[in-house]
């Protein structure tokens, strides 16, 4: 368990380092490896966030699918905002609704709430245990299961393939 989170955080830090320096010079590579190793060792005692992450090819495929779905939803949400802002009557019907999630891994939950915030008309206000409180700009239903179906499911189905 410890080893896996060490490896994951080391790889993430190393990628960030390569993006920052954008050079494959040996001195840079060695410095980056040393710094990432030290940081992952120091912070690994507390990093439980990668718990439940699957490290297999299918997870990678689903990550890419998820990225495309996410970008599509992001663009859709912006067109939605543009439509609401530009129309003179300001067609909004806001409210805070409660939805349920079945995800357990902390990282998966963060990805889910961030996706909800960035997609059409929804903003995560708080997450307590398995219920998420969402500010919905155009409330279609205050019922828990129906709102869950409308807001959460499309992301949760894919995220649950990447994290368990």
């Amino acid at each position: 368990m410890k080893l896996k989170s060490f490896i994951v955080s080391f790889i993430i830090l190393m990628i960030v380092w390569l993006l920052l320096t954008s050079s494959f010079d040996l001195a840079y590579l060695i410095t980056g490896a040393v710094v990432s190793a030290i940081l992952s060792l120091l912070l690994c005692k507390r990093c439980t966030i990668f718990k439940g992450m699957k490290l297999n090819p299918m997870a990678l495929v689903y990550t890419i699918i998820y990225l495309f779905v996410f970008i599509f939803e992001l663009i859709k949400s912006n067109l939605d905002v543009a439509r609401r802002v530009l129309s003179p009557s300001l067609p909004i019907n806001p409210g805070i609704v409660e939805v349920k999630t079945t995800l357990k891994s902390p990282m998966a939950r963060m990805i889910l709430t961030n996706s909800i915030t960035l997609t059409p008309g929804t903003l995560t206000i708080d997450m307590v245990d398995d219920s998420i409180f969402i500010h919905w700009i155009d409330v279609k239903s205050t019922d828990k299961t129906e709102a869950t179906e409308k807001i959460v499911k499309r992301f949760e189905n894919i995220i649950s393939k990447i994290y368990d």
Partner: protein, 119 residues
């Protein structure tokens, strides 16, 4: 090369239009939560598009621009969530057009349960 630059410039233009629409939403929306919605979404996509445009215009910068984009994708929704939660806890009112507030009901129920345990 030249066509890539022109495509990049148009993507940059669309990004700046989205940022502009977001700030328009900031002015027009009736309460804080709606303003956060309009502002966050539009500014996130607007910045992402602008960075993409600049990356297309100068391909050698892609790595840092990608890092900046990833950073914005992670931090922007988190900060807007924290701000929305804080506004609700600080008791900033929702607009009159609001139809339901489950979060307030939840917090009140929780508070009553705690007081019940104490007494």
């Amino acid at each position: 090369m030249e066509t890539l630059e022109i495509i990049g410039a148009f993507i940059l233009l669309s990004g700046s239009i989205f940022i502009f629409l977001g700030s328009l939403g900031l002015v027009r929306m009736p309460d804080v939560y709606n303003r956060i919605q309009a502002g966050t979404k539009a500014s996130t996509l607007g910045t992402l598009l602008s960075l993409t445009g600049i990356a297309l215009m100068t391909p050698s910068w892609w790595s840092r621009l990608l890092l900046l984009a990833i950073f914005i994708i992670i931090t922007n929704p988190v900060s807007s969530h924290v701000l929305a939660r804080a506004s609700h806890k600080a008791g900033i009112k929702l607009s009159k057009r609001t139809v339901s507030d489950k979060y307030k009901a939840y917090n009140q129920a929780k508070e009553e349960a705690e007081h019940g345990n104490e007494s």
